[in-house]
Symmetry: C2
Subunit: 439 residues, 2 copies
């Protein structure tokens, strides 16, 4: 394959098999979100540049695909639009723009591509699908529970197994820093290092806390030791009681566990005091869904009450989460979608009968049978039957001069090899009667 | 609505109602194309700039959205990628790239957005959906007929009525110019002017042929007179017999009429000698589907044997067509999709019972009922029932302290006003038994 004909670096062409797998997964997820009363939203592929810049930090800003101005302005080399980088900034714009037209709270889902100029790599793309649910305008813990339930329900629907929901809270993390005597100005850095506990050994994390985050060796050892102990949860529950923030955070976590457990199962959701993630904008509970044998998370989210206003929208509470849909699709066995079976392959071995063959095909399609007519040049039956087999057709139709003479269509069952001659008027009834198409 | 929160000029936000209408139309069309054995293809939103430039003519090139280079190259002001402008250039790249992995012939459909920096206007967008079927690798008239049948079948599926398929051929047009004595070098311009016969009076077209296309008044009058006569088709059939190209073109047209008529209906498809369209790349039959009371066409296409190689692909015959899907959606009454009905609205008037309400909602959703839990702050029943009515719920659940005490859920039928007390264990059976959700 010549490089010039490949899709641009970090993007993919989806041929039929892979595309059907994706569409099936999206449909399964959509059905779950609809059952929860989330409404779909689709925003444009690009936004005004100023809508996006400054919203994703310096690193994020560099990954935005910018669109050059057009016409006489093209020569300026300036951009005025940029490709969607996530689903959250467009949500904030929509909430700001349509306000009272939207239900309160506004529960929406968004599924579609986003674009990031990241270095492409294994499983990392420049065009990839995101799949978000958010509740804007509710500060209720019920909203957080609904988000967690909708995401795990969607994971069930797409066949994810053996996952666990890890729950923590930003308040609980603030309490943690407080009770271990971490100075406020070091807190952010300490949490960034603690977030590595799922990848690095406790010793290495403690060493980084001392070397890079200026903690005393004693504080670092105590913090890391307690967080990684076999009874870490109990130690943390006890420790957090010494702080107002800690108690408030624990209460948030426990309320979410209580509300989500009827659906998720109490054994699959747990307080996880070392969970840190996305501290930049979360304000309340945070969660991640992890699965046996998979690095990273397959879903995540939390409460982010200040974000919609920071993004230019009104000052409303909000929470939400995201499914790692590319990762999920990457794990699926898509062989079932590699080529949908054809019901009927209509051969054309006699030019004079071609219009009648088109008529047979039309009638079969109207009856719901997936039917193709042979479109290549050969008029040899053997070659056309080879094509029918390649297309994995269940039946082949043959309508040669002798058939026309006798006013019959020859129907060959390509599974059994049996063959029957059927009157054209009875063809649809014959095929639908002995065969229910699988679609 | 502040301008800064509106979607960029020429693009649209699709809220739930409009998006459901679109998705329904796309699903109906997809189902038809699948029944014909067309395979889906999805290519990236952007292509390398050099893949697109020079493919759409000077005017088209100006309408391409170009993406600025990134990182250290951003300051150059140069572009290296560009947003997809149509579905045909990506098809050519895919055919060139995947060759033998694709079925022969390759019958594919593509549905999705394309982007053009056109001046936005009524019904003209910068981001809009295209919906194409193409057959690559067949020079058979059966392929052209399959394209016409698939497109008209899709029009039937989305509810289009009273349309007609106009058919002509590039060869027939060459023959027309020949028999009316138009010099070859004037041919292109003459056809561009003749293409205006559906908008301008015959007199004006004849005048333009003389003034702008250098035809003699006699030739112009004869050509326009014959093409607009009541018996134009007969006159043209007679005239074209005097030319090799004319006879070949007529034969192409008649074969398509014969092959497509069993499906389309002979009364809805006709030779239309004045049909010109897209002469830049069509090489054989051309067609347009027009509907009563609608300007322009709702579908169109033809054979374009040289295009795939001109676009960088291999030298293969091809034909295809496109549905004017935005135009079709614009005509639909989308009131039916303006808000899908909720099956169950679960109120939360008693904080202590909230987890059990979440459990009821989970069970109802598992049974397929579209269920929402009240997420706003009020704990007043009247306010929550108002919410249930706003969400057009069929049933409301009430689970207050007295209900918990009695171990029942109060189910209110919001259509009839009737109310029943149901044991939590029987809730799902009670609701699914007396009510079949419409989804």
């Amino acid at each position: 394959m010549a490089q010039q004909f490949e899709p641009p670096s970090g993007t993919r062409d989806f041929l039929a098999g892979a595309l059907r797998t994706r569409e099936r997964v999206f449909a399964q997820i959509r059905e779950v979100f609809e059952r929860y009363g989330f409404e779909p939203l689709q925003t444009p592929a690009f936004e005004r540049l100023e809508t996006l810049t400054g919203k994703y930090g310096d690193e994020g800003d560099k990954l935005i695909f910018k669109i050059l101005r057009r016409g006489e302005h093209e020569a300026s080399g300036e951009a005025d639009m940029a490709l969607r980088y996530d689903m959250t900034v467009p949500l904030a714009r929509v909430v700001a723009n349509y306000g009272s037209q939207l239900p309160t709270p506004y529960k929406r889902y968004a599924m579609g591509p986003v674009w990031r100029a990241d270095r492409p790599g294994r499983g990392r793309f420049r065009e990839f699908a995101q799949c978000d649910v958010d509740v804007v305008g509710s500060s209720s813990p019920l909203a957080e529970a609904e988000v967690v339930c909708a995401l795990t329900d969607a994971l069930d629907a797409v066949g994810a197994r053996d996952y666990r929901v890890l729950v923590n809270s930003r308040e609980a993390l603030a309490g943690l820093l407080e009770v271990y005597g971490v100075p406020a100005e070091l807190g952010g850095g300490v949490l960034i290092t603690l977030d590595k506990l799922d990848k690095l050994s406790p010793d290495k994390v403690a060493a980084e806390l001392v070397a890079a985050r200026s903690l005393s060796a004693e504080t670092a050892d105590s913090l890391v030791g307690d967080l990684t102990a076999a009874d870490a949860v109990e130690r943390m529950r006890t420790a957090l009681k010494d702080s107002d923030a800690g108690r408030a955070g624990l209460a948030e976590v426990d309320r979410l566990l209580e509300l989500a457990s009827p659906k998720v199962g109490a054994e699959r959701i747990a307080f996880t005091p070392s969970l840190v993630r996305g501290l930049d904008y979360y304000t309340g509970v945070i969660f991640e869904v992890v699965a046996e044998g998979m690095p990273g998370s397959i879903a995540s989210g939390g409460r982010y009450d200040g974000l919609i206003s920071a993004l230019g929208g009104p000052d409303v509470p909000a929470c939400g989460g995201s499914l790692g849909v590319e990762r999920i699709i990457g794990l699926l066995d898509d062989s079932a979608d590699q080529g949908e079976r054809l019901d009927v392959a209509a051969t054309v071995i006699d030019e004079a009968g071609a219009a009648e063959v088109m008529g047979f095909a039309a009638a079969l399609r109207d009856a719901g049978l997936r039917t193709e007519v042979y479109l290549a040049a050969s008029r040899k039956l053997a070659k056309q039957l080879k094509w029918a087999a390649d297309r994995r057709a269940r039946f082949a139709l043959i309508y040669g001069a002798a058939d026309r003479e006798a006013d019959v269509v020859t129907v060959r069952d390509l599974d059994s090899g049996e063959q029957a001659q059927v009157s054209p008027a009875e063809l649809v009834a014959y095929l639908t009667g002995r065969y229910a198409p699988s679609r």
